[in-house]
Symmetry: C2
Subunit: 124 residues, 2 copies
């Protein structure tokens, strides 16, 4: 099984904000420790790749793999419409056949167990 994590951010007109996400994806890959073969990022709006583009790229990259697991991580602080409706809708727009591809959407980052500790750490 090949495992890919796609970090989905909102997307910004500021290139620096989008770059923050791709840098973060690289950092996550460094810490992934065998949990993922690949870490990508995608943007819900404005920037590219879009969510379907990233998923299609990932499927193309792994055309020779027997099985592919794609994990979508909504990099959003609140469970608003973007998280509950727009991201699942974008995932459904993928135009590749999905045999042997398993796509799973995880909870948004704002619901992470350790967010309170993270706030305390950065506010020190």
């Amino acid at each position: 099984v090949k495992r890919t994590l796609i970090i989905v951010a909102h997307g910004s007109r500021r290139q620096a904000s989008n770059d923050e996400i791709s840098e973060l994806a690289k950092k996550v890959m460094k810490f992934a420790n065998g949990n993922y073969d690949e870490v990508m990022c995608a943007y819900l709006e404005i920037a590219s790749p879009s969510i379907p583009q990233a998923i299609e790229q990932c499927i193309d990259n792994n055309a020779n793999s027997e099985e592919l697991e794609i994990t979508i991580l909504p990099y959003f602080l609140a469970a608003g419409r973007h998280v509950t409706e727009d991201i699942p809708h974008e995932v459904d727009r993928v135009s590749r056949p999905l045999n042997n591809v398993n796509i799973c959407i995880k909870p948004h980052i704002g619901s992470a167990e350790n967010m309170a500790e993270t706030i305390l750490a950065i506010s020190r």
Copy 2:
């Protein structure tokens, strides 16, 4: 010295999103372990209290304290205009006298050291 942490979120038309922040503030207070006497939240837009309202409330609450330290934590994932310009601007709108009040704006939550680990933890 009295220490207050104010978590500043964007603010949403969805009450549930704003409630997520006030719940988070309570959780942070629980973990604060003496680092803060009080944890509040404020919203840059749409919801209340606004940033100046929260700071003024905090100053009123601590009117009898010799010294007050207010830490502002921008609960934003990217360092966009909201973080770099709008939050400092809102802090400057406080209408109480600031003698013996020290206000410090921390980096945005998206720049937290452990964000990569948090992503890996929630995507498992």
